[in-house]
Subunit: 366 residues, 2 copies
Amino acid sequence: MTNGKQPNLRIPGPVPLPDDVLQLVGSQMINHRGPEYADMLDRMTANLRTVFMTTNDVYFITASGTGAMETAVVNTISPGDQVLSISVGVFGDRFREIAEAYGANVTNLDFELGHAADPEKVRETLKGMGDCKAVVFTHNESSTGVANPLEELCKVIREESDALILLDAVSSAGGMPIAVDAWGIDVVATASQKSWVAPPGIAMVTFSKRAWDAHAKSTTPKYYYDVQQYEDYLKIGQPPFTPCLPVMYAIENSLEAMVAEGIETVFARHHAIAEHTRDGARSLGLELLPEERFASNTVTAIKLPEDIDGKEFLARVRRDFNVILGGGQKSLTGKIFRIGHMGWVETAHIDEALEAAGRTLRVMGG
Amino acid sequence: MTNGKQPNLRIPGPVPLPDDVLQLVGSQMINHRGPEYADMLDRMTANLRTVFMTTNDVYFITASGTGAMETAVVNTISPGDQVLSISVGVFGDRFREIAEAYGANVTNLDFELGHAADPEKVRETLKGMGDCKAVVFTHNESSTGVANPLEELCKVIREESDALILLDAVSSAGGMPIAVDAWGIDVVATASQKSWVAPPGIAMVTFSKRAWDAHAKSTTPKYYYDVQQYEDYLKIGQPPFTPCLPVMYAIENSLEAMVAEGIETVFARHHAIAEHTRDGARSLGLELLPEERFASNTVTAIKLPEDIDGKEFLARVRRDFNVILGGGQKSLTGKIFRIGHMGWVETAHIDEALEAAGRTLRVMGG
């Protein structure tokens, strides 16, 4: 919708970017060991803390969101540590795989696709585990459009154990509230291409005092993702490794804008556009995949009528309406479609996407 | 020099970018799981092979250059493996640190700063080591402006051992010839912000059959940097993790341009501008740090007169001439300055930088 030729990209990230942000992304390179970078990093660090409602350390790392999740794991967990993985979908499974790849002894608590994690089941599992070093889970499962009840989950984990809380907030942070200090979250992992109105390329993490204590004891090998490197260089206003400048420029701008707008307003805006999307889907006679109370405020997953070929549906929406929707993943392939509404999104973007979906379904006889 | 306000950024990366590349960097996001991405990745893969003169696998990874070096190590080396590290400076030391972080048993062969690695010393060391799993070293040490004699080093390593050759070519690849197949290099690690006329954010690696054999036996834990993930997804024209699109757009463009220009011409162009820089430095009565025959074609390291305060020199050049030069690192701090000339660089950029250096030295009484 930025111009006649650009498709309406409504996948749950990378998010489309407005022209002024794209212009920033295309700014000239600067010396990442010079004073401008130090100034930028300083402001970004302060603003990121504001968004996460934390006094914890925060770091910017050149990587995809999976790199942020790996950073959470390799800095806190040692081989053989007991870890509880709570998964409600593809990204929860990925967090478990990362913990397993680094030698954690993982207990799995999986919930059916489209459902949220049940805090009482988490409580039972933790009671049965004895020692648990860390709990890894996804805040917002973008593969199913489910937002886990984060505050309740954190409360239960804190009540039942001393486990670190390692949170994949890749598709929620910046669009949904995450009160890092109040809820006691030790590491939050997120990435630039979601609610931050920036391209992919920068991973962001928060790191608590408890996480640092675990870091001191962690025997997991690490180098690029060792937070000690980022901490040491932060003191001199530098990155340890050459950072992805175009994405840093965009995040700097977004963080300033979010703090200026007020983070509560940013979250309310995401909630409002999500409600608009859910209402629109229901108006088309379609059903949401998750229960309403667990429906995500950054991505909506909508069930396709049973007789509709999901692959053809996505292809037609794209061909006939220049709208790119997300499909289903793994066992949900062909059964759902997804509409992203994080970061820069207007009701017109959503209405166009829903109209394209509705008209395509009618043509296909759905 | 792009316009009156932009400084002449002459550090050895990130390199400044011409306006048409910056415009590409600022292009709208696309679906990284859609057909445009698959097309782009396919062309980029073919062109990167051409530049590296190889039929080996090549991968694009969202990370800094250090991430490419870590990829080389974690995919091929297991804890306890004998590794020879050849270092001629800061980046050679970093490669050794990465190998050590992942449990390699490292034998060090270090050369004095400003000197290149001596192939005969490498031969002796390999003879004395017995079993050696891999040799890690830097092609072009940007901290000292030294280019190691790559072909000779590879020849000696191949003659004396079955060790894998893992090459840090972060600051050389794209600007200096690296005949991966002919010279038998198993993994080349490089990054976008150097000779590739692109911003930082994408690491690139080549991966040989022998490296894959080592991968099959490697017990080092890995996830984000596991080349198996990149290989599996390449088959369906996708990245395993959301890639840094703005930088991919720029590299795609640069690779097309390099192949169209002819890679021999690209390398000759880098040689010519390096000669121009070296001649210019000598005209100012200054001495190069490295011996002429090992002087890099992507960055020139120049000794400062002994009575000159190096920090003040850099600050004055910047303040008075809007030229940003590289300084010395570690024990060379304050003793040298460096001029980057890789990627997009014209003689006017170099002449301006040299004139700024010369006039500043005269003012400072050097």
